[in-house]
Symmetry: D2
Amino acid sequence: MTNEKSPVRLTAVDKPGQPLVSPELEELYRGFEKEMLVPLWIEISGLMPQHPQSKAQPHLWRWNDILPLAERSGDLVPVGRGGERRAIALANPSLGGRPFVSPTLWAAIQYLMPGENAPEHRHTQHAFRFVVEGEGVWTVVGRDPVPMRRGDFLPQAGWNWHAHHNATESPMAWIDGLDIPFQYETESQFFEFGRDEISDAERTTPERSRSQMLWGHPGLTPIGAIPAAPGTPLLSYRWEHTDQALSDQLELERLGFDGVVEPGHAAVRFTNPIGGGDVLPTIRAEFHRIRRGAETAPRREVGSSVYQVFDGSGVISVGTEKWSVGRGDLFVVPSWQEFTAKSEAGSTDSDSGGLDLFRFSDAPIFEALNLHRASN
Amino acid sequence: MTNEKSPVRLTAVDKPGQPLVSPELEELYRGFEKEMLVPLWIEISGLMPQHPQSKAQPHLWRWNDILPLAERSGDLVPVGRGGERRAIALANPSLGGRPFVSPTLWAAIQYLMPGENAPEHRHTQHAFRFVVEGEGVWTVVGRDPVPMRRGDFLPQAGWNWHAHHNATESPMAWIDGLDIPFQYETESQFFEFGRDEISDAERTTPERSRSQMLWGHPGLTPIGAIPAAPGTPLLSYRWEHTDQALSDQLELERLGFDGVVEPGHAAVRFTNPIGGGDVLPTIRAEFHRIRRGAETAPRREVGSSVYQVFDGSGVISVGTEKWSVGRGDLFVVPSWQEFTAKSEAGSTDSDSGGLDLFRFSDAPIFEALNLHRASN
Amino acid sequence: MTNEKSPVRLTAVDKPGQPLVSPELEELYRGFEKEMLVPLWIEISGLMPQHPQSKAQPHLWRWNDILPLAERSGDLVPVGRGGERRAIALANPSLGGRPFVSPTLWAAIQYLMPGENAPEHRHTQHAFRFVVEGEGVWTVVGRDPVPMRRGDFLPQAGWNWHAHHNATESPMAWIDGLDIPFQYETESQFFEFGRDEISDAERTTPERSRSQMLWGHPGLTPIGAIPAAPGTPLLSYRWEHTDQALSDQLELERLGFDGVVEPGHAAVRFTNPIGGGDVLPTIRAEFHRIRRGAETAPRREVGSSVYQVFDGSGVISVGTEKWSVGRGDLFVVPSWQEFTAKSEAGSTDSDSGGLDLFRFSDAPIFEALNLHRASN
Amino acid sequence: MTNEKSPVRLTAVDKPGQPLVSPELEELYRGFEKEMLVPLWIEISGLMPQHPQSKAQPHLWRWNDILPLAERSGDLVPVGRGGERRAIALANPSLGGRPFVSPTLWAAIQYLMPGENAPEHRHTQHAFRFVVEGEGVWTVVGRDPVPMRRGDFLPQAGWNWHAHHNATESPMAWIDGLDIPFQYETESQFFEFGRDEISDAERTTPERSRSQMLWGHPGLTPIGAIPAAPGTPLLSYRWEHTDQALSDQLELERLGFDGVVEPGHAAVRFTNPIGGGDVLPTIRAEFHRIRRGAETAPRREVGSSVYQVFDGSGVISVGTEKWSVGRGDLFVVPSWQEFTAKSEAGSTDSDSGGLDLFRFSDAPIFEALNLHRASN
């Protein structure tokens, strides 16, 4: 990650589409190397494939395997200035051991012990939290304490000051999603340290955040509120609403009306009340519910997605991989790899349910640049 | 560029901001490695720096060094299906020997011998041609033959069919710019082969392209024309207009009126007549003219730029580098590195001139995603 | 409202800014009249005033005066094909006796007797219903039955099929707002008759509309639903949400945080979840709550507004008019006339309240055309 | 145009769709009148027709009839503060003798004598000039002198200071188009007087305006220029470009390629280089060229248009009207009236030509509000 010099190395090879190997060609290639040049005819098949060839690979992280490691970090790793967060990132097995779940996305499990505080900072990387279990941590965004409970989705657009504190007697784990790899690769990131300690007023634990009081009413925009652009001013999307919205879609389907994505497959997108688009400029977040026994149609999409199983169980296929999954399990769908999800018939944990999946992706990047494609 | 497995390797180190090294910590790290996890506290300074730390470095390619290599390629490397183009890319010295001038941009010198044809293909990568010297090649975009002459800028948005043919007795070189690295890293690229040979009708060499006849009149939109989205329908921006626009700005300055960017610095952006924005969804292109003796104010910007000296001579500073430059020389300005250009007092090659610089950059990516920043 | 010929009549007058009266001038004016010409110098002060001079005037309609007339219409005027609706429009006293509350807006009281049905039709005029008292009517929009209850706001964008039916034993009155005058003046309206009778399935009276089930969840967009453009797909904005949003703003103010428009003045705008803008392309709708004893700052705005008092009492000033108002009263604020509202200190009908005002206006027209201005 | 009181007058009539006439109904209607109410059932057919029923009627003004009256005004009517402009407006024969060519548009012939100056003012009404013959007047917009010559189109967005001066020995006439009726009806207009005399520097008569030097180059945006929003920063669209663009379209058609609107019908829209949309927020301007012998397909459109014949001759049909027209003739096409134009076979005045028509309309109003419709 430093910019040390790396030479160009070119090999003349005798194969179709390549120039005839000769001493003159070798001499030309040495000239290219000396001048830091690489001919297209050597690289074209790798660089310009007929469709996306993901460097990342499909992979599953089991909640039961990673949660104990997060808990153990709670014992061994303090939270404070410098390390900033007790966050442990998923590293895609074919991305060089780096903490990148895909070429654009970061996904981590974060863990906070009773009474702990994660210090304030801000960064241009767009972020969110999603809670698969537990409660008791408040994320303090722009001095507004926002409670975190099972099923809540908490976006936090770039350059907002934020800290976390655990107000309870129990530790709590949750999922962080960010666009760290994207901003790292494209070199657009800024970071600033904030206060080491938040104020007592911010350690209050109100039932609802101020952002929710202003922006959490359906179809109603507060005329007096001035949001900090960009990204959504609504800092928490509560589970009760998400759950209701998904139940409503399946109920409409049962009554014979339109509303679901496909048979037995309800889905909502978390959106910014200002402008109606994605919650974050680089990250899309969605919640999918697949009725017991239903299965989604195979689908490929440009860009990568990470899913966490929120409830129920089922079978997931990504490219040539296939996994049985349950609560808390996380997996990545690389670019243009075929994806299907099947809800297991035997699931009885929810009347409406079946399989509940939280999903986030980098789709807004491609849509903003007219590079999005999907096939199914 | 294949997705082979790469393990996670973590080293516990005894330094500030890191947890105390202990056998238990080592055991935890082995657990992380096994589960493909990487803790943030180890990586945060590299991944989340206080401002962009470019992996690319500033670098200069001399026209007099690279043109002879292109010419020699004309002798040794045939043009045809498979290799597709006789294009030789600039490889940034600190990007691993790959043909990436920056983490997002591709810049290459392309070369076509008398009578040669480069076969038709299309790809989602957005592209342009810029001609620093010579003429006689027609680029055929969507079956519309577009002449290329010194100073012309020829954008070609993704997924347009295109081929080239050299209708003259002389070889011709020009510059290609694309977003290949960006689409490679984000895995959004598609590619398709077209006809091996273009038709006789496309080998005609009209003075003006059909796109120019329809879209090349200032402020006038043809009501009957349906453009192929996205990207500009105008396939050539002719030098005579660019030159006039820059001269006009300097003339307005001389008369005491506003118009230039800063004293002695005129500049135009190539824009899409539909929507008025950048010519390509991921690439910005500009032309800058710096009056003899003038110097631009130091400026940093998120994202990278490539410049080619079109005319005149001067001194360029990028970060800690400083070069005297002349016609045809190419250099890269990595993200957030300070840039200045000084036109040499002694230049006499143009009344209006001084130093003429063609520039392209990845700015539309950052602007579309609310990640753009500049400081000066 | 027919296009019969109307001659030009010009009078030469002897006053400053006008040409000298002479036989030659008179002859010229006769020439103008013959050729259907009118010189600017005669008309300029009326046509191009220094600020808007409203043709409409401020006016108040008392609920207690107009409701009995609506009730009486219930006895005397049948509802059916041809007349279409038992709607009685407010006629601004200085707009020629036409049913225009302002030059752009229509406001009417509509009345439906037990068991009655208003037949289906559609039109390009954008419309909404607002309920100041009562319940029991379902408005059926695109075959989706939508309940109407006190405080509910029900937008219905142009060209949606719609009918109403009263499913109860009691009559019901409500307010209709439309852009009829605007579309009449600019001649952009279309109208089509639908079915005379809605189906039994549409006579059901579900607690929630299908539109609410799909679009009524805060910040959540149904991925599978395809809305009919333009205008909001959410067909009812329920009172419970509006009330809560206004209470929340006043509560935030009490706690010392931002959120209200000005001291003691909470307000929300009804917005389209798709795009986040106004509910209707030509009509803005808002709800204002003024804390007991508070008063709004004087304000002028381009365009006209209609208010209905939903609850509480207070004193309203519009231009040189001043009225004490109570529940159900309706008034119009013409363009650029100064407006203030004062909540009466003695009101005790609501803990949070004071004065609750529903408002609609033509502001989206002016904002879309860059003609909006406000001063305060 | 003042807001004097006008009573409501209602007549109970015995016809289908109306309530039974009775003493009780008469009493109800008297109650409506007293309370300033008008029932929908009386007005619906006029207010909500099945398609636009234009209050305006098709009408033709002959250049040979109106130019002499403008010339005579030059003798009798001084230009100066108060009357502001020697502009004579076309009054549609069925719009009450008011200077409205349609319900939204103003069209006038303006006339300036040698050496005369029209004083500076500004207004929110959007305006343009179009020159059918002559030259020698400079319109000074924001202190930038802009020459006016045959075929030039000169837009001037609302709230720009502007004056005119005639620098020649000859009088000059041209056409003004504004949205005065629209802003008058909707009550959104502001007006301010500027300097009585422009400076000597503004009386210069440069070949090109500063706006043209900055914004008049195809596809090139000046990076250093800050435009005054809204409306185009390009203050003149020169005839040479318009003529070339139209010739090019017909040449493409001759060569067998796409480009024209329909056979023999070339057309361009004048557009804002910033954003690429219409030149003015409320006014669209276009130029149409119909090849000798060709005829446009019948077409209806929401909103009204005014045409001026720039060159050639032909036959125009609007609704039930039909006229032979020649240079300078002006006519109005009211909303939803069918329009066709036929170029006369015998015209020999231009190789490319046939019939050249300048057109302006209120289409941007309807497009911005989702009310536009066209049929053909």
